[in-house]
């Protein structure tokens, strides 16, 4: 139920409906955010939470519904109007100029000037320093954006909003790119802001963070508001159930691994990044048949280059990579695939699918050249369709008549299912999954994890690379921590907690067993 319109609320959105063509992204959604609180918006991917916030920030216009700021009805036509009403938004992808300093980025677009002509950077810098001190948002105002960490860049985005006089801050999935420690710091910053009278709306699908940070949580499912609850006194399981509409197991069910022969063997691997610096340094790892090895680590510690080297997209400057004893380094991607390696790539839209192609064509992106599949010069269209229909059925790819349609039109989860189905149809000896659940909702995540475990049980060696620590901890039989291009330490599942892993991921050391 919508609350009475009153000045005790920073933001009230009543009866918001928004459609895109015949698709209703939001239907009659109410949101009441009390002043001085942290209010989280929880929902699966595509539930409509970002759409709702984009309406508030003026990026979209609602078809119907009213928006009140401090009890006053407002018309937010565009982000400029939103900013005038004291609303600031930190997007998932930062909008910063890499070669500008922190201060320059913060004032960009609302620069203070001397007499309306020349920039008054001194004044601007002082304003930034004041904000930094007021909220404990430690950043160096003179550092270049490209030299500071992702979490610092996020602070710059927050400062940018505050500099423009934001009273209500919208944070769109702010923790996706942060380490455990950085998340704690961010939550502390949020609490400081609230103490000073600011209001924060945070979009997330991480239950743990809601518990750690928020006062109130609004759950949205398929464009409808399901519930608004005080966070204290609600369990993670209850929230998860409200989000997906049925009970979801948060823990992955699996039996003890029965590791067999070594399939993937990487020894002393070195590989360089775009800047010609060693990104992978003396990397050693073995993955056996019938086990899942997870690589935990923060983005940017050489995972990308490791995978590119394994897939022969960049050369290995030293060391060997072998699959069942056959060295594959410094050959072609095709060679690795022919040795029984299948890869579920990190970026499904860029590396996994040809979005302009039909689902049929994407399904046979590797199979098409198999002489058993297509013996002649042409592609057997009947076989292609039958094969794809099989995958659609087996992996529950929706809509089930998507075969002849553009792959780009599928939702993220269904796109991922097409890739997973295609890769597993190769009967790989080694399956490598990089961030396989990135951006997927709880239901789809469950499917992906079950599939990985099923392949393991069939005797496939599985290597999982993920920046989500929980995922690595839940799914892997062995957990390897990657830091600065090499493996820090390897643990059996269940012998280590996330604090320890977080510490190792951040370059700390750990002496215990």
């Amino acid at each position: 139920m919508a609350a009475e319109v009153s000045s005790g609320y920073a933001v009230q959105m009543h009866g918001i409906t928004k459609s895109f063509g015949s698709f209703y992204a939001l239907t009659d959604v109410d949101l009441d955010v009390k002043k001085g609180t942290i209010h989280s918006i929880l929902g699966e991917n595509g539930a409509g939470k970002s759409t709702l916030m984009n309406v508030l920030y003026g990026l979209y216009q609602a078809d119907s519904g009213r928006i009140y700021i401090n009890g006053q009805e407002v018309n937010i036509k565009n982000p400029t109007a939103a900013i005038e009403h004291g609303i600031g938004m930190v997007h998932q992808h930062f909008m910063l100029v890499d070669t500008f300093t922190v201060t320059q980025n913060i004032v960009l677009g609302s620069e203070s000037t001397k007499g309306g002509i020349t920039l008054d950077m001194k004044k601007a810098r002082q304003a930034v320093v004041d904000l930094v001190e007021k909220y404990g948002l430690e950043v160096d105002p003179d550092a270049l954006i490209r030299d500071i960490t992702v979490s610092m860049q996020q602070r710059v985005e927050i400062l940018k909003a505050l500099y423009r006089g934001a009273e209500t801050l919208i944070l769109d999935e702010p923790t996706a790119v942060l380490t455990e420690q950085e998340i704690d710091e961010l939550i502390q910053i949020m609490k400081n802001l609230v103490k000073d009278g600011k209001t924060i709306i945070i979009i997330t699908h991480k239950l743990k963070e809601i518990q750690a940070s928020s006062d109130v949580c609004t759950i949205i499912r398929r464009g409808h508001r399901i519930d608004t609850v005080p966070v204290r006194g609600v369990s993670e399981d209850e929230l998860a159930e409200k989000m997906v509409g049925h009970a979801v197991k948060l823990v992955v069910d699996k039996t003890e691994a029965k590791p067999g022969d070594v399939v993937l063997d990487i020894k002393g691997l070195y590989a360089k990044n775009d800047q010609k610096l060693d990104a992978v340094k003396d990397f050693n790892l073995q993955v056996r048949a019938g086990e899942i090895v997870g690589i935990a680590g923060i983005d940017g510690n050489g995972q990308k280059e490791l995978m590119q080297a394994v897939n022969n997209l960049i050369p290995a400057s030293a060391g060997t990579i072998s699959i069942s004893g056959v060295e594959i380094q410094n050959k072609t991607p095709r060679f690795g695939i022919d040795q029984g390696m299948s890869i579920i790539p990190e970026d499904r839209q860029k590396e996994g699918l040809v979005l302009n192609f039909s689902v049929y064509e994407n399904a046979i992106l590797e199979k098409y050249r198999d002489p058993n599949f297509n013996p002649g010069f042409t592609i057997d269209r009947k076989k292609m369709m039958d094969f794809t229909e099989g995958l659609i059925l087996q992996y529950d790819i929706r809509p089930d008549d998507c075969g002849p349609k553009r792959a780009g039109g599928l939702s993220g989860g269904n796109q991922q299912k097409v890739i997973i189905g295609r890769e597993i149809a190769n009967d790989p000896k080694l399956l490598i999954a990089i961030q396989p659940t990135r951006g997927l909702d709880v239901g789809a995540i469950e499917t992906v994890h079950k599939t990985l475990i099923r392949e393991r049980d069939k005797g496939v060696a599985v290597l999982l690379i993920s920046y989500e620590l929980d995922e690595v901890m839940n799914v892997s039989d062995r957990i390897a921590v990657m830091y600065d291009g090499h493996i820090q330490q390897i643990f059996k599942q269940g012998t280590v907690d996330n604090r320890t892993l977080g510490l190792l991921m951040a370059g700390g050391s750990y002496d215990g067993e």
């Binding site: 072609t332 095709r334 690795g336 590396e351 040809v354 302009n356 098409y368 042409t378």
Partner: protein
């Protein structure tokens, strides 16, 4: 649900036709502004394109090389490459055709085959250079092919003046041997019997006697069908399109990206080479001249591919339209006195509007959304009315 009318307007073929009609309207405005009678001028233009069998035949002949270069460019676009080097590839094909045809003297079928093969190979290799530079070193194809276009022009001029090929007292080479000619019924036309028939039959006289009607157009149609088949039905086409549509995904799935870029440029070049081969073997003067500037057969192919929205079959029709406008433009000048630049304006406007026409579906979508509630009520009213009538 989309209404029928809206779907009709979103059809790319319909959009192209609208663009062409608008092109003519703009031309009429320009003609009127320049002081020429617009309706009469356009009437003359169209009549001189399709008025007599002779004209239609001439348009087909004029269009053939442009259809081929259009096909080459369209093929490259379909596989993710912008072959602005069609011009140079076409010129190298012409040089190779003359190089082979003026020296070799074989029996007709062999001679024809040899000349065509020489032209296709030369053009394919010339396109291949662009492909190799892009695939191996990463230089953008537009830059290299523009450079190579100039090299082809000067190579043509050098070749024309070599001692072996230069025909004294002319600015050109010796023509190729007659055994390489691909005009339809060429020898029969010149025989006693042939001349007698042509004299008595006006239609045949117009089509065969007055024109270099040749085998090129039929081959162009076959080539367009072949290219469509290659792209949509074969493994090779699948690879080429994958690389063209998403090079990263293609690389990840083990497709040899460099090889496919090179292959694509070579096939694109080969199609331009076919155009060159049938120009040299099928149209007078069957030789090369020293050129002060490029003849634009390849550049016109770019326009053809755009008007056809890179559909190979569409290139046949777009090529005919283009050839027709070039041919008809000449009559416009002689009969109305309007400069041929008017024709260039028409062509420019059509290409511009076709490029612009991709916005129309987006515009409709925006318009539809705003009008949605209105149409809904209209719909229910109608239903009600129908119910009452029953």
């Amino acid at each position: 649900m989309e209404s029928k009318g809206r779907k009709f307007l979103k059809n790319p073929f319909v959009l192209t036709v609208i663009a062409i009609i608008l092109g003519f309207l703009v031309a009429m405005v320009v003609l009127a502004a320049a002081g020429f009678p617009p309706l009469k001028s356009v009437g003359i233009l169209i009549k001189s394109m399709v008025g007599k069998p002779k004209d239609i035949a001439a348009v087909v002949v004029k269009s053939t090389p442009i259809i081929f270069t259009g096909l080459g460019v369209a093929f490259a676009i379909k596989t993710g490459l912008f072959n602005i080097g069609a011009e140079g590839q076409y010129m190298m094909g012409c040089v190779a055709a003359v190089a082979a045809g003026a020296v070799l003297d074989l029996p007709a079928p062999l001679e024809i085959l040899a000349v065509i093969l020489a032209a296709v190979l030369a053009s394919a290799l010339y396109g291949g250079i662009v492909g190799v530079l892009k695939a191996k070193i990463g230089i953008h194809e537009v830059i290299t092919s523009i450079m190579l276009n100039w090299i082809a022009l000067y190579f043509n001029n050098w070749f024309t003046n070599t001692r072996l090929y230069h025909k004294p007292a002319t600015i050109g080479t010796y023509p190729i041997h007659e055994s390489a000619y691909t005009m339809v019924l060429y020898h029969w036309k010149k025989s006693e019997a042939g001349r007698a028939v042509l004299k008595s039959n006006d239609f045949l006289k117009q089509v065969l006697g007055r024109n270099d009607i040749n085998m090129g157009f039929a081959v162009a149609v076959i080539a367009a069908i072949f290219v469509t088949w290659l792209l949509t039905r074969t493994k090779k086409g699948f690879e080429l399109r994958s690389v063209g549509s998403n090079i990263d995904a293609a690389r990840y799935t083990g497709i040899n990206v460099s090889k496919n870029i090179i292959d694509s440029m070579m096939i694109s070049g080969a199609l331009c080479g076919l155009g060159a081969a049938f120009y040299i073997t099928g149209q007078s003067p069957h030789l090369l001249n020293t050129l002060s500037a490029t003849e634009n057969v390849g550049f016109n192919g770019l326009s053809v591919a755009f008007i056809a929205q890179s559909s190979p079959i569409g290139c046949i029709f777009a090529g005919l339209l283009f050839g027709g406008l070039l041919y008809g433009g000449a009559s416009l000048q002689s009969q109305v006195g309007a400069p041929t630049e008017i024709i260039n304006i028409v062509i420019g406007v059509i290409v511009f509007l076709v490029a612009l026409s991709v916005i129309i579906p987006q515009f409709l979508d925006k318009h539809v959304r705003k009008a949605a509630p209105k149409t809904e009520t209209v719909g229910t009213d109608k239903k009600k009315g129908a119910g009452d009538a029953k």
